[in-house]
Amino acid sequence: MSSMYSEKVMDHFRNPRNVGEIEDADGVGEVGNASCGDIMKIYLKVKDNVIEDVKFQTFGCGSAIATSSMVTEMVMGKTLEEAEAVTNKAVAEALDGLPPTKMHCSNLAADALHDAIKNYREKHGK
């Protein structure tokens, strides 16, 4: 099927990884605005400075869902410092690129992740 998105984006859209909520999350991050069409929420479970579990919930277009899914896959099992080094651009690259109109608004998954790490550090004084 021809698509405006890469095969990798469509794969993550079709079979998103790590969807859902972590009830007793150590850190929660959220970016976006529903009236602009995108909200991304990231939940973290952290043990010994390592991301033990990460889940997402997203309201948004195909690229918003795919970038959220990809970022969770990229940081699962990584240290917080490694996760903090992941950028929106790196997420888009890992998906073999996004259409130009989607680069700004629907490519915020790393921001949501960083927000969740910030929330974790604030809560736990780290």
Binding site: S3, C36, K41, F59, C61, P99
Partner: protein
């Protein structure tokens, strides 16, 4: 996989009969109708026959039909043409117009013309009293579309046209979505200018026309070789024009039958969505809606992700209008109708056509509810709800 096309307001497939009529003009009938020799003269007759067919559908004379490159050019020509001839003045349009009208009016407003954008009610209708109040002594043009491309609302053009005529002001309507689908007699509609396009009625892309009432003061948009009686220069798109002429005759022949069929399909679709998916709003006016179009706003999910999911099931639909896909702003039509901006983000437009079947709508109604459920489960907006 058999694909299902439910985006007929964006464009339609060219009918076989139309293609067959067009092909000779890409072969032996290649002449330029402005040429005096036989190669030119032999394509002049089919050009004028096509013009007769478009004029006939509108209840107009052939001298009042100018062929263009499509609906967008016709809209630009009507509005800029009247504005340039008047040199200054006030233009009235509505907030729910197609961008081809809205952007043209706002461009003229930047160039020194005055513009008023009429509001619409929650169904998308312009209030004739609002038009009456907006008319000024210096108003030169009113432009209100016949059928809205995103939601299907049918404006009361006859009434709006009568008010405008009484004020001695020109009235333009973009009839791109209604031509060949609803009656569009220019005298009954009280219009002075009317835009149409071929590719919405199973004709080719790249051809349209503007009806211009006799005596209308309008400057040409495209000047050069004096084709179309100096009103639209450029060698005519003969193949396209011939295809347009064929398409309108075929559309008119089955117009009422297609309307009845679409009415039943629309009922099935609207009722099915209502029964199978909670929290969906159907936009538009149930009393005055063109039956090809169903605009549905689905809570807690975003439209493009619905579109992609349906595409994966072989069903082609649109979010709002095809022109604005890629834009992150909610639809200007839905915003003008007062739909909540978050709900507007979850809007899909299903637009059916002459070939749409009950079985296709049945298949859509089977695959759509689980798609909505899956995306709602992913959405933080519905996290607190068990869905």
């Amino acid at each position: 996989m058999e694909r299902i096309y439910l985006d007929h307001n964006a464009t339609t497939p060219v009918r076989q009969e139309v293609r067959d009529k067009m092909l000779p003009f890409y072969g032996e009938l290649f002449g330029n109708p402005s040429s005096a020799h036989s190669f030119g003269q032999e394509v002049k007759v089919p050009l004028e026959e096509a013009r007769q067919r478009i004029a006939g559908q509108l209840g107009a004379s052939t001298a009042q039909i100018v062929f263009t490159s499509g609906g967008t050019e016709s809209d630009n020509y009507a509005i800029k043409g009247v504005a340039f001839a008047a040199e200054k003045g006030h233009i009235i349009t509505a907030l729910t117009e197609h961008p081809a009208v809205l952007q043209t009016v706002s461009w003229l407003a930047k160039k020194g013309f005055d513009a008023t954008y009429l509001e619409v009610d929650s169904k998308g209708l312009v209030d004739p009293d609002d038009l009456r109040k907006a008319l000024r002594p210096d108003t030169i043009l009113v432009s209100i579309m016949h059928v809205n491309n995103e939601v299907g609302t049918i404006q009361p053009i006859e009434e709006l046209g009568a008010i405008t005529r009484e004020a001695g002001v020109y009235f333009h309507t973009d009839a791109v979505q209604s031509f060949g689908k609803l009656p569009t007699n220019v005298d009954e509609l009280n219009v002075d200018l009317l835009s149409v396009a071929a590719h919405k009625i199973y004709g080719p892309k790249g051809v349209g026309a503007l009806y211009i009432r006799k005596g209308t003061r309008i400057d040409p948009l495209i000047i050069g070789g004096a084709q179309e009686k100096r009103r639209r220069s450029g060698t005519e798109n003969i193949a396209g024009i011939v295809g347009f002429g064929e398409a309108i005759v075929l559309a008119e022949a089955e117009r009422e039958e297609v309307y009845e069929r679409l009415t039943l399909l629309r009922q099935k679709l609207v009722q099915g969505i209502g029964e199978r998916i909670p929290e969906v709003v159907i936009n538009g006016d149930p009393e005055r809606n063109f039956p090809s179009t169903v605009s549905a706003s689905v809570s807690h999910v975003e439209g493009e992700s619905l579109l992609l999911s349906l595409d994966m099931e072989g069903i082609a639909v649109s979010t709002g209008s095809a022109c604005s896909s890629g834009s992150l702003e909610p639809s200007h039509v839905l915003v003008a109708m007062g739909i909540d901006t978050v709900l507007a983000q979850g809007t899909l437009r299903f637009s059916m056509g002459r070939g749409t079947t009950q079985a296709e709508i049945g298949y859509l109604l089977d695959v759509f509810p689980p798609i909505v459920e899956r995306l709602r489960k992913m959405s933080p907006l519905s996290a607190s709800k068990a869905c």
